[in-house]
Subunit: 391 residues, 2 copies
Amino acid sequence: MIPNELKNDLRLKWSRMKDCMAKANMDACLLSSEVNLYYMTGLIYSGYFYLPVNGEPWFLVKRPNGLSGERVEYIRKPEDIPSLLMERGIRMPKRLALEADELTYNEYERLRKVFQPEECGNATTLTRTLRRIKTPWEIGQLRLSARKHELTYKEIPECFRPGMTDLEFQYEIERRMRQNGSIGLFRAFGPNMDIFMGSVLAGENAETPSPFDFALGGAGMGPSCPLGANGTPLTEGTAVMVDMAGNYTAYITDMTRVFSVGKLPEEAYRAHQVALDITCEIERVARPGTACSELYHIAAGIAKKEGLEANFMGTKQQAKFVGHGIGLQINELPVLTPRSKEELLPDMVFALEPKFVIPGVGAVGIENSFLVTKSGLEKLTLAEEEILPLR
Amino acid sequence: MIPNELKNDLRLKWSRMKDCMAKANMDACLLSSEVNLYYMTGLIYSGYFYLPVNGEPWFLVKRPNGLSGERVEYIRKPEDIPSLLMERGIRMPKRLALEADELTYNEYERLRKVFQPEECGNATTLTRTLRRIKTPWEIGQLRLSARKHELTYKEIPECFRPGMTDLEFQYEIERRMRQNGSIGLFRAFGPNMDIFMGSVLAGENAETPSPFDFALGGAGMGPSCPLGANGTPLTEGTAVMVDMAGNYTAYITDMTRVFSVGKLPEEAYRAHQVALDITCEIERVARPGTACSELYHIAAGIAKKEGLEANFMGTKQQAKFVGHGIGLQINELPVLTPRSKEELLPDMVFALEPKFVIPGVGAVGIENSFLVTKSGLEKLTLAEEEILPLR
């Protein structure tokens, strides 16, 4: 079932997960969310991944037909698992970690009844903590996504035709994304993150608050998809912020660039430069051990010093973070927010997105994906950072 | 907060929901899933919709900023709700319906602690039951989606160039979809339904089992998106099944058509005709009161009589349904499956999709969306049903 080239990567992940479980005093975990299955097995299937703290993993598959391999077992329903494992000499766990922030209430209760552990732990917390630190293979996947992300972004100026709306412009970018290998699916953790392929924000629409927990908003195409482009005409003097997904492998890079239709007001260029300065300053100070909250304070501090406090991360509604972990989902840990208690650690990968909304003009600023190295940051997403004119 | 043109529709839904709640002996429901919020309010916001069985609804909003209207109240967190309601003279519910198949375990438990009801009901069951019967406005939205769905399908032959792969063909269809107003987002209920814009299945890939609960499979672009097109070259003699979303409003129509590259083997045309015959027979017999299981048995029976049992709804893995409700999600109730206990009721809308996989050739068959009227079925998705050659 598991391809040879993933064997080492998966062994590393299982071993790290066992360390996490041991620290949390858990005997086993049972995972079934798509993202965690892919993380732990390199596959998405309908079924479960069962990992005892001292032992080998079991792959309990409902669908698709035809998988095979060591410790791959077909089940019809979760109720089949305990006897299947016991027949193979696996003891039932007393302390079982379940995905409490991913399973629905009914799924969770069903699994609890099936296993009847004395205690349940939260496998969502464990896996989200674990997934912060990328393995060498994962970093390689992120680099592959970054290369294709850059390729698409280079083609963005070709997508523009005078007279277009933000949506028409976005459709052309989406097409290039797909032609360059975007898998389309854009995974996020939790509710209130319903986004399609990314966001293009232009003109007044950049001020529109959204229900979702992204850095900026936009009215979207209608009340059932309230985020991003809304049909704003891309007229002279409009800033166009492109924040389209880097979903070219299962691992997503995050990158934002700004384009201008004709010339923007001077304040837009100045605010954009402040965003570049914030990025530079964070690149200068960030290293393993730096508090994530400090990175937010650096960004907000520079914005304030430059008199751009009221424009920082929105106007009518301001996001209270300036960056976030990325990986299989677009909103992984850590979050660069004043409330964060986390520190940067080597092999974390995060997006840094200082942005400013200029009323009537649009949004400016920058977003790049960074890898935390032993000594600092490495920028993964390389593309021209100035505001590029569309013509 | 609520647009005038939706006022009557929403009042109708609230009144139906109150009837459902009364039957289930519930005092109130609290909804927060995107789909249920949109259903009940015409909007998606971050927050809650609270409906007492005897009383007016409350709109409890966290984000976005700036909503206003009668009984619209801003909250920071769900813990704010009880005192807010009690200050406005609303009694706490003894029996509260929560979305037990949509909320995560932790969200559900948090709400239960906040409200401390004596008993919890399942608001997912209530809303899914309720949402089967479409309101006049919803039927209008489905008709709008159907018109644009048809428009895109008419353009499909123009998307083809000799030498293309299934994926390249799909990208062109996706582009037309967006240009014709597709909202992109393709909502499904439950886990294991991770699909992007729809599915194009060609050649041998039509046999590949998928982990997901759709009618057919396909390997997809890779192990992180295991469904649909996989890069199969569209060579002479290949059947190309197009099952792309009708997501042109929040209400999704479902339609499948088959195209051929050159001439297909005779058995493919014959099986396609059997799928058309199945549809005709079901159109002839189905009316309010018809058991959903009967519709499955009719389809499976015709398939068997024609010697196509082993090809019906897949080969290596066969779906055990021939249709499903549609609406805000692609997999609503009822399901046309032998296990169904449901009967057709007026104003249900469902997709009927008898399909056959022909090894080495691809998939053939048809899918249309139907409205259940007082006396029978009305086909909503009108487009040429024969296998159309691509050139």
